[in-house]
């Protein structure tokens, strides 16, 4: 007996439907668990006060500051480098062996797992360059990690800028650099911002590469040579050492909420950018 293909079709459709919602369900469950368990322990005092007794009491202020320092400083270093690379790849060369090499470099950097960045940062920045566990070593390691994201998103954004804009600029006798500076980059800013936001999200959530370069000191990092602890590392230590489950959930709420907000903002900007040119 042959089953009517239409029934199979309907069955498959249902099956796929269930699986797609199951996947989204996982996300919702993860976020819901964190929020239900964590919100009772999160308030302004928690965010703004210093931890006591290794984090068993008090808040997470130093780790929030550490996270912001790490994310902003590495963005500050990676954006010019990444944007410059993207401009070079899109505006200054044709596809050649040279650009292939550079693209190979970017792709490879993107594929390296974070523990290998940690291993590299540990031996190069911490030990060979004698930075010790410090904000600086963490920032430099993070800069390399987020560089591929910034390059790729900036490149896409610049490519999406319509040719006509450039032609008009040239016809007004602007030089190439002036055109890029005054026309192309401003038009590509939403796309570039998306890359920056995604990179901040990555820096906020990273643990493996940071714990071996920035260390895990609970003090407020006051200089680049100070060791510090980001929220993700603090959460890891609280949860893994069983120091305090309440504080761990509380930290997780702040951590996950900030990453979600950053990423949502990134997609919002991206969608705006896509809407603009299509």
């Amino acid at each position: 007996m042959r089953i009517n293909p239409r029934y199979i079709n309907r069955l498959v459709r249902m099956g796929l439907n269930v699986q797609a919602y199951f996947t989204v369900g996982i996300l919702i469950i993860i976020v819901a668990i964190i929020f239900f368990k964590g919100f009772p322990h999160t308030n302004f005092a928690f965010i703004l006060s210093f931890p006591e007794d290794m984090g068993r009491e008090g808040g997470i202020f130093p780790s929030i500051v550490g996270t912001i320092q790490l994310a902003l400083l590495s963005i500050l270093l990676a954006t010019p480098l990444g944007l410059g690379t993207a401009i070079f790849l899109t505006e200054y060369t044709k596809e050649s062996l040279f650009t292939k090499f550079i693209r190979f470099g970017v792709e490879s950097l993107a594929g390296i797992p974070s523990i290998l960045y940690g291993l590299f940062g540990f031996i190069f920045f911490v030990i060979k360059l004698k930075m010790g566990w410090s904000l600086l070593a963490g920032v430099l390691t993070m800069t390399i990690m987020i560089l591929p994201t910034i390059i790729r998103t900036s490149e896409e954004a610049i490519r999406a800028v319509p040719r006509q804009l450039r032609i008009v600029s040239y016809s007004l006798s602007a030089s190439k650099w002036e055109t890029i500076k005054k026309v192309v980059i401003p038009a590509a800013i939403p796309g570039i911002l998306t890359g920056i936001m995604l990179s901040i999200g990555r820096a906020v959530g990273e643990t493996a590469a940071i714990i071996f370069t920035m260390g895990s000191s609970l003090r407020l990092p006051l200089s680049l040579m100070d060791s510090g602890r980001t929220m993700a590392v603090h959460f890891y230590i609280l949860a893994r050492e069983g120091i305090s489950m309440e504080k761990a959930y509380g930290t997780a709420v702040v951590l996950v909420l900030s990453i979600l907000l950053i990423n949502i903002l990134a997609y919002y900007i991206m969608n705006k950018a896509i809407a603009r040119y299509s």
């Binding site: 954006t79 006051l222 680049l224």
Partner: protein, 270 residues
């Protein structure tokens, strides 16, 4: 953001870099004591540092983990003022000065629901070397024993190997966690687990096993009846410098030792 902004921002970063480098040797009259090493000693040193800094406002005590071996190496290289070690020094390391700050028992712990409350040293050795692998062999349910150990290089593992295993190797099937806290978490959640942790960390979440009839406690360690004990050491390269001496003196003072005692460690006063 245009390139002009970056032209402004880059010098700003440079300025930030230089001022932070300068802030290190600003004449703020703050003394920094850097300490690194054993993760077993670290939590207690952090606690001592917290209290120390309350009374000594012009001091910053920076405490880092890294492990006994790394702490000893850092002391040899003069990258820290004090190293922390939870195992005795060996070979080359012996040329460093050692200061015993207190003693710590290593407790063998099981889940609170576990009825096996007593084991002898030989049994523990057999469990961790894989000879005994089922709780039934110890008079409980027919269930595999989930033994938890520490990673290679850990001072607690080193001390456990010296004092308990005595040359017998820890079985490859044993789970491994990288800190006292995470061993304790595994034992606290898995009813069939057994592990070993610093006695100072034992609380209601885990149950210490009596070894040869003796429960680990400050009393039994002092009287010498509980045998699995190791010193917590601070190590220095040569003589103590004056600022570190202030901190070490505090640690060895009655006040400092009282803090350690409250944490379940065995100090020099009663």
């Amino acid at each position: 953001m245009s390139f002009r902004h970056w032209v402004i921002l880059l010098p700003l970063i440079a300025a930030l870099l230089s001022c932070s480098a300068a802030s290190n040797d600003k004449p703020g009259k703050k003394h920094t004591v850097t300490i690194a090493g054993s993760t077993s000693v670290m939590p207690f040193t952090e606690k001592l540092a917290e209290h120390f800094m309350v009374d000594h406002k012009n001091f910053i005590v920076d405490v880092q983990g890294g492990g006994s071996t790394a702490g000893i190496q850092a002391t040899i290289n003069n990258t820290v003022d004090l190293g922390m070690s939870s195992r005795p020094l060996k070979g080359e390391e012996k040329r460093l000065n050692t200061i015993t700050i207190c003693y710590d028992g290593i407790a063998v712990v099981v889940h609170p629901d576990n009825p096996v409350g007593e084991l002898d040293l030989d049994r523990i050795r057999q469990i961790f070397s894989g000879r005994i692998s089922n709780w039934r062999q110890l008079g409980w349910v027919n269930r595999k024993i989930d033994a938890v150990s520490r990673e290679e290089g850990s001072g607690t593992r080193g001390a456990f190997e010296d004092l308990v295993m005595k040359g017998r190797e820890i079985d490859d099937g044993t789970m491994v966690q990288d800190s006292n806290g995470s061993v304790k978490e595994v034992v606290a959640t898995d009813p069939y687990a057994i592990g070993y942790i610093s006695m100072g960390l034992v609380d209601r979440k885990v149950q210490p096993v009596a070894i040869n009839g003796v429960k680990p406690s400050i009393k039994t360690i002092k009287s010498g009846r509980y045998k699995i004990v190791r010193p917590f050491l601070y190590v220095t390269n040569g003589e103590l410098d004056p600022k570190s001496r202030q901190f070490v003196d505090y640690v060895l003072s009655k006040e400092g030792q009282k803090i350690l005692k409250n944490e379940g460690l065995v100090g020099f006063y009663d």
